[in-house]
Structure formats: structure tokens, C-alpha cells
Symmetry: D2
Subunit: 484 residues, 4 copies
């Protein structure tokens, strides 16, 4: 319901509220480093860290609120601390730092968490789809092209085909790390500082792979890590939208192949009988939204002058909106797939219609004769026309014979052969292609996928662990300074 | 400051909060019509109208709040009324209406107001620019092409050139009315109703030009009036972004031709001397945002199945966001233009540099000789090279003579002539083109523009009047029913 | 087939080949004006006009080809003329003109023609759809929302609902004229000229409403008339894509309500039975393409420095591509609509399914009792559930009675009443809404539409006439100068 | 010039002309596999391979041309072969293949080559930039933020900052391989085949990492590898556009810090003195174009029904256009950077203006006193105001002392100290940040970058080698069959 009614009755919180925990983490790391490098005294360091810890606690209790008259998260925190502790110690916190590298850092930490969350939720969705695909690996149904019946497949195979692209999405989110898990802190306004900072230390305390190799690059390109994540989200949403579109169609009363769970159908304000596939439509809408925000982000990044430009601040609002809108789509799709009813009998019935076995018949003729593929295709096409005229939706030996006469061909087929070559269940079982619709190929592909999912899970765990380690290193230092 | 810090510390309200007044207006009109058509009784009508008026009052006092558990604005209001008055009368309010036409109506009313507001704010900005252009109609400066000095213009002419496209923006917003000031109410779920509705009456009570000619069209195309408005906003923002870019450049220390008012410059968190053109950069960012949202809206409208699709609900959030972000740009740009310092001496100095009078010299040579334009151009190009070698930035008779010798030409020019033909002040005064940079042409164009602005103002007033009339007709009816 | 295979085996011609006729037209008008203003001699004017006429003839015979080593269309023509006639006369053609205003003019003339062509083709498509809608104004079918059966409509009404938005498209293309049918010529490089040009004369000779009010505006905003047209095309393509999507669905074997003409179905390279809705899918693809190009154009127009920027040259390629890709979609859609088979019996059968008459039943109960709408809706919803349990797709009196018992209601309905209130044919006939699905309302709306189409046709004719007049005025002048 | 005049006088070839070599390669691999698997005879295999080799030769001699009446590249080749060799053998080439997997393959091979080419050209550009940055590692200049002077940097450092993001672009193109270097062949129409294909063999012969794990996935998602490449190109173009914008500005007469080589400046048709940064503007235009095409591609991929949809054919045209437009930007930017004149004296002069050393002065005061950063900032801000009032652009001890008096501070600084702390050359040398503007940090970063470039080169070579190996394996097989 919350997913369906969108922002009708729900507002959007200020962006810096979302960034606050990251901002405090960054300030802690920066302060510790300043102290370790002898740029500020232990006493000053202790005071700043104590203050930051207090604010962190107040914020998590919902007591500390951002004050619009204090501009942004950075100045809100600093002002609050100065008010409580005076300027003499706190006034050193911003030494050798600019809001440029500070906000670049906050967003980087936020984006990194989101990338990891998408990986986690994609793994979960893939697991659901894989297990649902296993269950229906033998349920024959029409395979579609151009929205039309094409050849035989199974529901398991089709579902797996919608799942596979999500694995590439996982890889894209992981790749975000290799491009952007770097520390912008220390670049200051983009042109460094004369204070002897230890960028490796802050990198470790913030769980980065290391500092950015250039002080200006992350400032000029503040749109880029946002845009890269947005692109991955956008492609993911496109993949979900293909699922949504396919499921919407298959659950029309005309198709009747799927039935969404009651909790995923919504009613009408006047039509008593309506059961609308609301959440699936919402997912399509969010794919459009993602496309729009990606476009906006790319536009922000076009033709800036080198160095910081305030334009890039809007990249922050765009990406935070995008994540808030799209992230819930994954667990919801997972639920939908898990709970929907698959109407196998209807699927099976449909495989008897519209000459859907004709391609396999054609292949069988080629395999059982010396007819070249191109000639055999003409032959079967003619047979299709004859059968159609007789009101049939499958080809009989009679149709084939008439077609052969027209083409001056002399091959002998048995009626039973011809029937079997068009039998849906036989067709999928005889498919020879790894990755194809035969139940055995489908199960093999699922099992290979599951193995790979384990690897992605490992990656996700190792990232979480690394972050926990950094956080706890800061905790130890605080403890060492007597802060609790 | 609020403009600059964007959504850092400011959240975004629920969309239906913005639509609530429109929803109530629509329900009043619908109820009156139901009663007038005898579909509901006077008593029921009075009860519903009384309830709506109460909620309206509570909302404007900030007491009535949308409750997320009651889904959307429609159900929030209906539930509240049923709770207070019981279902027997209130339960008739939704007769012959669906949420499909109801929400289409709410958004239509909202969009209409926004279009009118943009017209109003564009008129104001154009007036500011016109008056500032008048003031500097004689202030010579380099006219730019390719970011480079091209020919002579004046600051007044340049500013007017940035203003003129805004008139087309006004026309686009006005044109929105001719396409979309139509009443979707009565279409119900898109397929009409068997109740004998009077769509002309609701149209009048809601200040529309008339009902939509087709019941399904406004439902299928719920993205279109949003997208049309978004496009107009997007083009407007592009026009503002060109101004912003031009002003940003002209206020760099290198150009030094403009100086923003102190209230429009922002500082740095570490650099004590910084004075950044923050609001102008924000306007560029919002042009990017507008482009993104437009893209999202168009994507919503691509390839829907006929009839309502829930995807289109997201068009609502997108357009409301867009308006909230972009509308303030117009009054702010007005303020910036009004208050910025124009550094005329620097502009004038720059007109003496880089052979900027060469084109006029070339034209004068053509006018005072029989030399074809193409040959004269080669001549002046050669003279430019000679002058450059001697370290000059203007052409002398000596340069011309050397060039003529090379080309085997024999024309006689006086040194004074050559100097005058390159004199910036003379050049602009001698420009013969209506619409060109001569002070007289500029003032003429300004005066013509002002006359047209009066027409747009009239249009704006007549629209406001019409809305006030509709609202007061409803008021009279309420009074007639004894509701106060 | 050409439409289907796209650019597989067909290249794209150079853009300036398309602009050449406009360039010559512009040069003729400019030359005549220079002569009439005494800026060049009659002799020179005659020579230039003779040369231009020659090139025009050679081009239309396919003999004159653009030479890539001569840069662009302007320099190709000028070089060719200088080669043939020498520089002394021809070298004066470019007097008081820059490539900036020249190319702005060429594109403006090109865009104007395209806008008119779209109007013409939209009128034709609307006529086809109106006449097809007339034919099926009584053919009942399910009206869809959310891809699901919602209420009863007719095929004629549905088709008309897909047609109506195209009228707004016509209005947008016509509106292009009111914004942009203005002459940029005379602005030169954007900063005028000291030659005493007659901009009104060239405006008349080029069938413009008048000169641009500012010399720089059309140069800075060279992206804008392109973008405005692109937006109108984009919205048009979205409207076509909704038709395409609806028809694709209705012609699946599951829906079976439409059958495209054989000439609009395409086969497969291996599946002998396939009949794919190729042209409809291509139209959807082109809607995507249109969206992309529009985005590119808007991006070109973001944050330029005032005056000409070479970036805007790419706006030319984008819009020419867009027109070439999308323009053929209109006549093809016209053909598709005209020739497709409407399978009325299937449509009718489907109206008996899925409680599609429930809303009308509900309305009838409200009309025949004092039950408030909200209560009646609960009643019918309950009845639907009871009927479903009994495997029916329509509600019977028994279902209603059981529902009433549960709600403690005591109303009496006859079995026959209940059946009639759910009868599709009766339902559409009883619809009371102007613009709704009743055959009479549909026919009325069609007849009103046809009247308006006549007005648009008149507009189109008057524009063509005006252009022919300008061209023939130039012809007379040429004749007067002895050029044939 | 070709880059500048774009598509004015140059057309665009048919897309399938570009794909033809890939199509033949694919058909060879498929044919060899059919033969090795015993699906076709050696004799038939030899005939097909001979035919393909002939066509390949004719095409490379420019003799074989695509015929528009033969639809697409696949049918052109097959028809030509059947015409020459008869249908009996050639008619078997398409056995167990569909145009769906065939075209997916062709594009995949094409995209792979493009990704590798971008890597190659990015490496070359980075090398040029690195070497140019080395040369100017000590050339002080203003570092910009908000288009305004911010702090001191060097031209070498600034240039390196524009180069670094290109490394991420390389990584994105390489990442394309890990997502998409997979063989779609064997999926046929998306639902496999009953012929016993060896997908590993065709994968090896086509230099893929292996077959696609699912037969339908590459068919449904035919837009995805295109879109992924387009995104990488789009981000690369954004990076180039930032360079372009920065260089355009720095080469205005106002900035005067750069002078493009004559070959990269273009003239005007009327202004004799103009030297426009044409190629840089074109690069910005192409960034817009890239954004547009990316949007179009994403739109193609939104909400398709599972399986092939013809919409995706347009993804082919879009990506081929994009590559053709954008690929030349890299070598051209390389040339521009290599040949432009860096006007170091102007840069140095500018570093003396606008209190650009104030931040370093502030840092030095903090380092030489116990003043907290926040207080010191207030102090220096006050001093800036005092100096400004006296018309100075640097702070003197007097200014500082006045400021201290106001703040009731008592610190002692020497005049010389204060001067030195604002000395540009000293400032950059004293910067302590790895990645910062100090010459030593810049040179270190360059040397690290060069090392990484070697790794990317290795990758590029290994990919080329792998392709050559596959091609030569096919050559050996052909030789073994007696084909030469």
C-alpha cells in the first residue's frame, strides 16, 4: 500500500538527514587523523570526538534535528558543537578540510552503502526466482517473440530468462566499488592543503581502498559516482520492468496464465470486480523515473568548468530520490514472484495453439531427410497454410503431403511422427541447447547460477565486515581517549 | 539562502497536500451538479457541501492533515466526512465519478494555476530586463560568438537578446490553456456512466473551456498535460541557464564586466576571499533537473495500453517536484538582473581589443569602394595579420596598404577614416538593422516588447477573473443552500 | 518493408543536401533585397540570380552534388558560382550576411515545411480513424484499465479515444508557426550590419510573418525551433505508440480481437507460422528514438554563452534525423488502421466475461433505490464474490440476495432486471455522457471532430498558398530581370 | 575539417555495411560447428565456407554491395550465395540458427571491437595528457571553483585532474567485456533448437568467454550491451566536455591562458579576425548527442515483453551512430592537448590577483599560532576586506593587524612572512597532499598513472591477440578443407 500510494500522502525528508551519520563518521576519522598527525592536540581531539558522539546519539534518538536556518548538515553540526563546547577546540575540526571534500565524502559513503544494498536485494530476488523456476521447470508454455507465440518453452525457463540479467546488475553494482571506493578527503577545496594529512589513515578508518589519486578529480566530477550508480539502478529497473510487463500481460483475463496474490492486486473506486496489477505498474513507472533522473544527472555533468561547481549539489538530491523510489522494488518483486499463482493448465492449453510446434517439426524434417533448411522451411510454411484453411492449429501428414506435391518433393512421413514432432512436452525435452528450455538444461543453469550467487554473497559479507572493522577501530580509539 | 541550500535541510511535502484544495473544489462542483440533475437530493447535497466546507476550513487552519493509512487525498476526505456525518448522505458524493476522472481533474486544476503563475513571473522578469536594458542601451561591449569577441554590441542589446526568448515561453504557457483547459470530470473510469451528468455545468463551475470531447482520452493520456507544462518549464529553464552562464562568465575576475550583488554571492568554508555566483549555478542545475523530469514524463507516456494505467500516477509526483524546484528561479533571476552592477568601463575597454571592429571596417570598405565582399574580406584578413605582427589590436592605414599591395589593389583610405570605422561607439550607432545593437533599434524593440507584455498581462488578469467568478458562483449556491 | 528494415541497408544522405533548396531560396531573397536597396547593382544581382537558378536546376536534375572538400552547402554553392562566373559579381552575394543567419534561415524554412507536413499527415490519419470509428460505433468490447477489463465500451469509441489526442498534436505543430515563423536573415553574425537592409522585404519573399525582433536571439537559440518541433513529434509518437501497443495486444492470439492486414505482418527466419506486428513495433521504437533526440536537443540548449556556439550545429543533424525517421509513421499507421480486420464476435464474447457489467449494475441499483453509492458498491462487491464461488462471470439475483442478507438490506430486484443491467449492448446504449461510449455520443463526437478537421485543412492550404505566392513573386522579379 | 563540418556534406552508410564482416565471421563459425557436429556434410560445409570467403573478398574490394530489395545483411548474403551456388548446400547454412541470435551475435562482435578501440584511444589520450602535464608541473596558475579563482595550482596539476577520470572510462569499457563477451549464438529464436550444437566451439572460434547462460536473455535484452557501451561513451564524452569547456574559457581573450593551435581554430564567414575553438565546441555537442542516444536506448529497453521485440532493432542504429560520432573525439582531443600553446606568464600574473593566496595564509596562521581554524578564518576574512578597501589584491601585515585589533587578538607576524605565505610558487611547493598540486605530488601521480596505463595496454594487446587466434583457427580449418 505504501508502495502503491507513493508520495500521495508521504513527504520526502531533507537529504542531509540521510547523510548525517556519514558526515559524523567522516568528521571522526578526520579528527583522529588531525590528532595523530599532531595538527591538533589530544585535548582538542577528545573534545571534538566527544561532541560528535553526543550528536550521533541525539540524532539516533530523534532529538537532534536539522535546523534550516543553519544551512546544511556540516554547519548544523559545527554550530551545535560550538554552542555546546565553545569555539576554541571545536573550531579546529574543520582544519585542512573544505565542504567540497567533506560533502564528496558523505555522498561517497552513502552511495557505497546503497550499492551494497542493491547487491544484497538482487541476490535475494535471484534466489526467489531460481527456486520458483525450479518448481516450474517442466511446465510447458508458449515462448513469445513479438508478443506472439513463437516456440515451446517452460515457465521455469522463461522465469530464469528474466532472472539472468539481474546477475549483470549485481556485477555493475560491485563494479561501482572498483571505480569509486576511494577517499576524497584531503583534497580540501580541490587544491590540497599545506597541512601534513595522512590520507591513508582516513581511508582505512572509512573503509576505502585508498585516497583518490588527484585532489580535484572527485570535486569536478561530483556527478559521476552518482550517475554511475543511477545507471546501474536504471538498468535494473528496466529489467524489472520487463518482468512487470510480462507478468501484467500473463495475468490479463485473456492470457490467464498467472494470477497475482491478492495482496498484490488493487481494486477500483467504482468497479466492484477490478483486480489491478498495481505494484507491477508502479515498477514500470519507477523505471521511467529512473530514466529521468539518470538524464538529469548526466546533464549536470556536461561541460562543467574544472573544479567545484554548485550545479553538482543537485546531483545529491537526484540520487537520493532515485534510491528512495527504486530500492523497495526489489523486495516487492521478490514477494510477487514468490506468491503468484502459476496457472499451468492454461499455459499447456495454449501450447496446442497457433502452430507453435512448427519450428520443431521443421527441424525434425531436416534431421530426418536431406532437405536443406531453406527448402524445408518453405515446405512447412505451405503445410501451415493448408492446415489453417482446414481450421486446424497443428499440421497433419495430409497437409505436409499436399505441400510436398506442390513442391515436387517425395518424402514419406508417418502420421504419428508428425504428431510427435509437434508435441510440446517432447519438444522441450528434446531441446539440445545448454541454456535452452529443456528441463535438464534449465536445472543445470539454475544450479550454476546458485553457485555464482554464493560468490556474490561472500563479496557482500566481506564488505560489511570491512566497514564494521573500520567503525570498531574508531571505537577503540575513542575508548583509548576515555570517551564512552 | 533557501534557494541555495535546496533540499539539504528542507523536506518535500506529500503531493496530495498540494492537491487538496483542488480536490475539494472539484467535489463541490460535482456535488452541486448531482443535485441540480436530481441524482442526489438537496438534503444530501447540503450535507456533502457542508462537510467539504468544514474540511476546507480545517485544512487552511493547518488542522486537517492527510493520514497515510487512508491512502490518498480522495479517500482521506471521504473517510473523514463519513466519520463525521455517517455514510447515508456522504456515501453519495462519489456517485458517477471514479478516482480516475477525479485525480485527472485535481491535477488539471493544479497545472492550470502553475501555467498562469509562470506567465505572471515571466512578465515580471521581462519587465525587469527591459528596464535594465534601457539603462544600458548605449553601453558598448564586445558581442560574443564562440565565447570569443565577435562584433560590437551594447549591454542593453545583449540583455534584451537574452530576454526575448522568454516571450516565447509566455506563449507556450498560454498555449497550454488552449490544449488542456478542459474538464475531464464525467469520464468516470474512462468509459462514462449511465447517470445523466451535466458536464457543461461542472465545466463552468471549474472555469474550464468545456468538457473533454472524449471520456477515455484524458485518462490514457494523464501524462500529457504534465509533460506539456514540463516542456515549457524546461525550455524556460534553458533560457535562464543561458543567462546564468553568460552572467557567470562576465563576473569572473578575468572578464570583470559584471558584479553580482552581495546577496547573490556566496562564500566558501575555507577560502576567505571567495564570492561565488551560487544562485546562477543553481539555476543551471535546475535546468538539468527539468530535463531529467521531462524525460521521465515522456517515458511514462510511451506505449501505454489504452485506458488508465497506474504508471501515470508518477507523472503527478514528477511535475509537482519540477514546479516546486523551478518556479522560484524566475523571481530570483529578476532580483539578480535588477541588482547586479554593470561595469561599463571594463566593457568599453574590451571593445578596443582583438580587432573587434574589423567586420565593420570591412563593411565600410565595401560601402566606399566597388570591391566585392569576398575580396574585401581577404584584404582585411591580411591587414589583421600585419597588425598582429606589429602587436596592435586595431588595423591602421599602413596595414591596409601593405595588404593592398599584396593583392595588387589600389584604393585610397585616410588614416582617420580607418580609425573611425573601427570606433565602437560609432559602429553601434551606425548599425542599420531593426533588432540590431544600435541604441535606437534597441529602444524601439524594448518599447514594442512592453506593448506586447501589456497584452499578456491582460490575458493573465482575465484568467484570474474567470476563476474568481466560478468560485463565487459556488459560494452563492452554498449560501442559497444555507451553508456558511 | 523499407519502414521495417530501417537503416539496415539504407544510408542517410548529407544534411545539407536536404537544406540546399532552402539555401538557394534564401540567397535569392537576400540578393533581390540587396539590389532593391541599392547595395549591389542590378547587373550583379542578375548575375547572382542567374547562377542560383542554374544550380537549382542542376541540383533538381541530380547533377549538382555537394563536395565534401568544400565544407558546407553555403560554401559549395558560392565556390561553384565563383568558379563559373568569377568573384567580381558573385563575391557580393554574401554582403551583409553571415553563415550564422544564413543557416538559421535554411533550417527555419526546412522546419516550417516539416511542421506543415505533420499537420497534413495528422489530418489524414484522423480522417481514417474517424471513419473506421464510425463503422464500429456499435461493436461492444471490454473497455480496459490496467490492461484489465473495466467496463463496456465499443471499438469505435476506443479508436476515437486513441484519435483525439492527435488533434492536440495538430495544434502543437500549428503553434510552432506562431512562435517561429520569423525571419532570422539580417541578424548577420548576431550583431547586425551597417548596410541598410530591408528585413520586411526578405520576410515577404520567404513567406515569414516578419523579421525576428532581435538579431542575436535566433542565433543563441538555434536549438529552440528544432527542439520545439522535436517535442511535438515526440508527443505525436507517444500517441502513436499507445495505439501500437493497444493493437499489438489486441492482435495476440490470446486477445484475438484484431488481425493486421497481411502486408503489415512479418514472418520469421525460422518459424514457419509467425505473423509479427512488425510496423507497430517499429513505431514504438521510433517513439524511443524521438525521446532520445529530444533529450539531445535540450542538452544542446543548456547553458550556452550568449551568441553563436558551434554546438548548435548538431541540432541540425538531430532534427533532420528525427523527421526522416518519424514522418513516415503517420501514413503507415493510417494504412494499418484502414486495413486491419476487427474481430467483433471475439470482442462481444469477451464482454460477457469477468463481471465487466458490474459497475453498470451498481449504478442501476443506486438509480433504482435510495442506497448510497458507497453502500451499493459494498453490496455488489459481495455479490461478485458469491458469483465467483459458483463459477459464474455475471451476477444473478441469488448472488445479490445473499449479499443483501449479509448486509441486512431489504431491496427487491427481478432476475430479468439484474440480467439486463449487465447486458453489454444495453449498457453502452444507456451511457449518458457526451464523449462517452454510447453510439450516439460517439457519432456526435466524430461529426464535431470532422468539422474541426476542416478548419485545420484550411489553415494548411492557406500556408501552402502563401509560400507559393512568395516563390512566384521571386519568379516575377527574375523574369523582370530577363532571367529564365 | 571533417570533424567540424559533421554531417553537412557527408552521409551515413547503411548499418549492415558495418556489420557485414562480423556477419560473415559468425556464419563461418556456425558452419564449421554444424559440420563438426555432423549436422551438415563436409561437402556442404566446404561450399558454404567457400561462398562466404568469396563474398568477404568482394566486399573488401568494394564490389559486393548491399541491395535494399534484399532486406538485410543476412538475407543479402544468403540470397547472393544461393544465386551463385544453388539452394541445396547453401540452404543448410541457416540450420539451427535464427536471425535473432545471428544479429545479436553480429552486434556483439561489433560492440566488442568498439569497446577495445575506446580503450586504445583513451590510453593514447592519457599518455598525451600525462606528458603535457609533466611539462607544466611547475607552471603556477589559479585553481578554479565556481569559475572563480580559488587557490593556487599548476597547469600540470589541473591537466592531470582532467585526465584522471578517463582512467575510470577505460575501466568501464574493460568491464563491458566481463558483462557481455558471451556468445548468443545457439539461442536461435530465443528458445533453443533440437540440433546438437556445440556452443563452446563457436564461442572459441569467435573469441568469446563462453556461451550465454540462457537462450532468451540476450534476445530480450538486445538493448543492454548497446546501452552499456553507450553509457561508457556518454560518461567519456562528459569528461571530454569538461576539458573542452575549460579550454574554451582559458582561450578567450579575457582569460588568455591558452592558445589553440591554428589547425584547431576556425574562422568566420564575415568576421576577418575570428579564431573560434570549433573542435572543442563540437566535442560539447557530441556529449549532448551521446546523452540523447543513451536516453533513446534506455527507452527501447523499458518494459518489453519477454522474448524478441522488433523495437530493439533500433538499438542497432542508435549505437552505430553514437560510435561513429564520438569515437573521433579522442584522437582529436589528443592532438589539441598536444599542440596547444600554454601561456604560462599570463597564468602566473593571474595568481597574483584576487587574494588567491588567502587560504594558504590562513592555514599558515593556524600552523604558526594556536588560533582555531574557525577564528583564523574570520581574521583573514576581515583582513581581505581591509585590503580590498585599500585597493590591494594581497593581504599585508597592516591589514592583519587591523583585523586582529577588531577581534581583540594579539599575534605577531612579520611583513615578510605574510608575503611569503601568499607567494604562489611557495604555496604549491609546500602543498603536502598526495594528489595535490605540488610539483612533486603531480609527478608522482603521473608516474603511477603511467604504470597503470601499461597494464591497460597489456589487456588491450591480449584481447587483440585472442581475436587473431580465433580468426586464424578458422583460416586453418578452411585451409584443411582446401579453401583458399
Amino acid at each position: 500500500m505504501d508502495f502503491l500510494s507513493g508520495r500521495d500522502v508521504r513527504g520526502v525528508p531533507p537529504c542531509d538527514e540521510i547523510l548525517l551519520p556519514y558526515d559524523i563518521w567522516g568528521s571522526k576519522a578526520h579528527t583522529i587523523m588531525l590528532w595523530k598527525q599532531g595538527i591538533i592536540s589530544e585535548k582538542d581531539g577528545r573534545e571534538i570526538l566527544t561532541g560528535l558522539k553526543d550528536i550521533e546519539a541525539l540524532f539516533s534518538q530523534g532529538v537532534f534535528k536539522l535546523d534550516a536556518s543553519r544551512e546544511d548538515v556540516h554547519s548544523n553540526i559545527e554550530s551545535e558543537l560550538i554552542e555546546r563546547f565553545g569555539i576554541d577546540g571545536i573550531g579546529k575540526m574543520h582544519t585542512a578540510r573544505s565542504r567540497n571534500d567533506q560533502i564528496a565524502l558523505d555522498i561517497r559513503l552513502y552511495l557505497r552503502d546503497q550499492a551494497a544494498n542493491f547487491v544484497r536485494d538482487l541476490i535475494a530476488l535471484l534466489e526467489t526466482m531460481a527456486s520458483r523456476a525450479t518448481r516450474h521447470a517442466e511446465a510447458v508454455m508458449p515462448g513469445f517473440t513479438h508478443y506472439q507465440h513463437a516456440m515451446i518453452t517452460t515457465f521455469g525457463h522463461m522465469l530464469l530468462g528474466l532472472a539472468m540479467p539481474l546477475e549483470r546488475d549485481i556485477m555493475r553494482f560491485i563494479n561501482w566499488y572498483s571505480l569509486f571506493n576511494r577517499n576524497p578527503l584531503g583534497g580540501a577545496a580541490g587544491y590540497g592543503t599545506s597541512f601534513p594529512l595522512d590520507r591513508d589513515l582516513t581511508s582505512r578508518l572509512l573503509a576505502f581502498d585508498g585516497p583518490h589519486e588527484h585532489s580535484t578529480d572527485p570535486i569536478t566530477n561530483r556527478w559521476e559516482p552518482e550517475t554511475d550508480l543511477a545507471f546501474s539502478i536504471c538498468v535494473t529497473m528496466n529489467h524489472l520492468s520487463a518482468m512487470a510487463q510480462t507478468f501484467i500481460l500473463m495475468s490479463t483475463s485473456e492470457f490467464g496464465m498467472l494470477r497475482l496474490d491478492e495482496s498484490h492486486r488493487s481494486g477500483s473506486s467504482i468497479m466492484p470486480q477490478k483486480e489491478n496489477p498495481g505494484p507491477l505498474e508502479v515498477i514500470k513507472a519507477k523505471a521511467s523515473l529512473a530514466q529521468g533522473i539518470l538524464t538529469g544527472l548526466i546533464s549536470i555533468g556536461k561541460a562543467p568548468m574544472v573544479g567545484y561547481n554548485k550545479d553538482s549539489q543537485w546531483a545529491k538530491y537526484m540520487i537520493i530520490d532515485l534510491v528512495a523510489e527504486c530500492a523497495p522494488s526489489l523486495p516487492i518483486m521478490s514477494e510477487i514472484v514468490n506468491m503468484m499463482e502459476v496457472v499451468e493448465p492454461v499455459m499447456q492449453t495454449q501450447t496446442g495453439k497457433g502452430f507453435i510446434g512448427a519450428t520443431h517439426l521443421l527441424e525434425s524434417i531436416v534431421q530426418h531427410s536431406n532437405l536443406p533448411f531453406r527448402k524445408a522451411k518453405v515446405l512447412v510454411e505451405k503445410a501451415v497454410r493448408f492446415a489453417e484453411k482446414s481450421g486446424r492449429e497443428k499440421i497433419t501428414v495430409t497437409d505436409l503431403n499436399r505441400a510436398m506435391r506442390e513442391m515436387d518433393l517425395d518424402l514419406r512421413f508417418k502420421a504419428q511422427e508428425i504428431a510427435q514432432w509437434q508435441d510440446p512436452v517432447k519438444i522441450v525435452q528434446e531441446d539440445k541447447i545448454p541454456g535452452g528450455p529443456s528441463p535438464s538444461a534449465t536445472l543445470k543453469a539454475i544450479s550454476a547460477l546458485k553457485k555464482r550467487l554464493k560468490e556474490y554473497e561472500k563479496w557482500h559479507k566481506s564488505q560489511s565486515l570491512r566497514i564494521r572493522r573500520s567503525v570498531s577501530e574508531i571505537g577503540s580509539i575513542e575508548k583509548g581517549l576515555g570517551i564512552k
